[in-house]
């Protein structure tokens, strides 16, 4: 299998605080990888570095063999490196359809059109209708995002990600904060993601990790301490220590 994304000794420091240190791993087409780790391990920082929100302080990132370390967010998105957010970030005053349509139009380069109606162009409409349908939220197309329930917003976040035709999709805790009865929908949506894209998911919920991932990366104190199958991760002594350590810390009075 070909490598889509390759991290080579990627580091990120905030002043003297080294949040990510020498992180190297590869994602290939079809990969389903979970990134786990205790709170404060540096998972979200890593996603920000990969997606281009934060420049790394060391190391290189390659997408399909091209060095993308110095590229900004929009360039990475155009090359197929797409992320979703832990806390939903949507266009709150626009409708669900418009949110997805914008992503479709941006990908097709037609947001430079100044004079045609936005969401009703057939080549755009077809796509957002299909995406909202796949995620089971087609009936919400005309509803403004700020009026959607949180679980529905998470699904919409996924729909926007997919509308960008990602090659590599980074999911930052896609099920976080979703009410219990809506969580299965998110999981179904994730399981039905196109088979040929690489997906890296940050997740706390171990049930979800076991159902989803074929490979698990464990981040602790900014370092990658484990890479292997979900079955092996629970028995790894270093992983156990990292998690126990963080729980021990949490119990210490502030």
């Amino acid at each position: 299998m070909t490598d889509l994304l390759e991290l080579n000794k990627v580091s990120r420091a905030f002043g003297g605080l080294r949040v990510n240190q020498d992180i190297s791993f590869k994602l290939a087409a079809g990969d389903r990888v979970a990134l786990i780790g205790p709170n404060g391990a540096g998972k979200t920082t890593l996603v920000n570095v990969i997606s281009g929100g934060l420049p790394p302080t060391g190391g290189t990132l390659c997408l399909e063999g091209d060095d993308i370390t110095r590229l900004g967010i929009p360039d990475r998105v155009r090359r197929g490196l797409v992320r979703t957010f832990q806390v939903t970030r949507l266009f709150a005053t626009l409708t669900a359809a418009e949110n997805v349509a914008l992503a479709v139009m941006q990908r097709k380069g037609i947001t430079r059109r100044f004079f045609s109606a936005a969401t009703s162009a057939p080549e755009v409409r077809e796509e957002w209708e299909k995406l909202l349908g796949t995620l089971g939220i087609a009936h919400l197309a005309r509803i403004t995002v700020s009026q959607l329930a949180y679980g529905q917003q998470r699904l919409l976040e996924l729909a926007i990600g997919l509308a960008l035709n990602p090659k590599v999709l980074l999911l930052d805790e896609p099920a976080a904060g979703v009410p219990h009865d809506e969580a299965p929908k998110i999981l179904e949506a994730i399981e039905r993601l196109p088979a040929d894209i690489a997906v890296l998911m940050i997740e706390h919920d171990m049930d979800l990790v076991f159902r989803f991932a074929k490979r698990v990366l464990v981040l602790a104190n900014g370092r990658l301490i484990f890479e292997g199958t979900p079955q092996a991760v629970t028995s790894d002594p270093e992983v156990r220590r990292a998690y126990l350590g963080s729980y021990a810390d949490a119990r210490r009075p502030a």
Binding site: S51, R78, R89, L90, T93, L102, T111, F114, T144
Partner: protein
């Protein structure tokens, strides 16, 4: 906003040019109404149209892109001076002068946009004020171009299309301005619903998300500023041509602040809001200042406080909420 958008979007698939026709009919009706209400004061209505175009222009950057600015009169003022000079220099055809205003406004829009959209929040607001003050100071000092505090006078355009003379009752000026307003408004209605317009609204809602769908933000905002400048330029050109004089008031801080108030009053992020905000504020101001020259500012202040208390998101939003209530009640009955 939510109820407003659902109301507005119901008409989407119904009929291809429904909203455009509504706009043309509404502006024509407003024109007739204005003529009936103020038959002896068409000069006031003409000035009102020029300023209303500036409110629309401001709505494009503030309402649709979320850019805070208190220096928008600069775009208007620069084009009034450009048109004034062009006319005094011999280019006296009204349509050509509109073109001059549009180009001058757009250039000023690009310059201000390039500077103002570099910043966010309070620094952005301060930069916009500084830019406005800079233009105002230049207008005062460069008296060879601007006439300084005396301004430019004797701006007399030739008849519109060679047929309609600018008469002393401002009939031609009023109808000409109204037609131009109608054209600009219809074009803008399409523009804000275009893919580009929608992306600008997306940037307003969350610019990081906009980048995460692959949009490069800065050039988009500058383009929007250029369009906004062109619209302000139309207003400025009309103002210079129909008043015959250009003065420092057209670049003043008060003008910038006033149009922002009109926009908030009508409802930012909605062209109808900008239109009605401009019209209602100026008519109210006109009537009140005529009937009570001593306390009119107090009354304008009270109107604003009332609006902010009862319809904080502007008149257009309040009307849309009312309308959707009427519609649902009608549906249940």
């Amino acid at each position: 906003m939510s109820t407003l958008s659902t109301v507005a979007r119901k008409s989407d698939g119904a009929f291809p040019f429904a909203s455009e026709l509504t706009a043309v009919a509404s502006i024509a009706a407003l024109g007739v109404l204005g003529y009936l209400l103020f038959p002896d004061d068409l000069a006031f209505l003409t000035r009102l149209i020029g300023i209303t175009l500036l409110v629309l222009s401001l709505d494009l950057v503030t309402g649709y892109c979320g850019i805070a600015t208190l220096g928008h009169a600069a775009l208007f003022g620069v084009s009034t001076y450009a048109v004034g000079n062009a006319c005094l220099g011999g280019l006296r055809d009204p349509v050509a002068l509109l073109g001059v205003g549009i180009v001058a406004g757009a250039i000023m829009g690009i310059v201000s946009g390039a500077l103002i959209t570099r910043f966010r929040g309070l620094p952005q607001l301060v930069i916009s004020i500084a830019l406005g003050q800079l233009v105002a100071a230049l207008a005062n000092k460069l008296s060879s171009v601007t006439g300084g505090s005396d301004g430019l006078s004797g701006i007399t355009p030739t008849p519109v299309l060679g047929l309609f003379h600018f008469d002393m009752y401002s009939r031609t000026a009023f109808v000409f301005s109204l037609v131009v307003l109608g054209i600009v408004f219809v074009l803008l209605l399409r523009f804000v619903r275009s893919p580009f317009g929608l992306l600008c609204q997306g940037i307003r809602d969350d610019d990081l998300r906009a980048q995460m769908i692959g949009a490069v933000i800065y050039p988009r905002l500058i383009i929007m500023y250029a369009v906004s400048g062109a619209v302000a330029g139309v207003g400025g050109a009309l103002n210079a041509m129909t008043a015959g004089v250009v003065g420092l008031d057209s670049v003043s801080f008060e003008r910038s602040a006033e149009v922002l108030v009109m926009l908030v009053l009508g409802g930012a992020g909605n062209l109808w809001g900008a239109l009605f905000g401009g019209i209602i504020f100026q008519i109210f101001e006109h009537i009140v200042s005529a009937t009570n020259p001593f306390h009119w500012m107090t009354l304008v202040g009270l109107l604003l406080i009332g609006i902010v208390l009862f319809v904080p998101r502007g008149i257009s939003h309040g009307v849309a909420v009312l309308w959707s209530k009427v519609v649902t009640r009608g549906g249940q009955a």
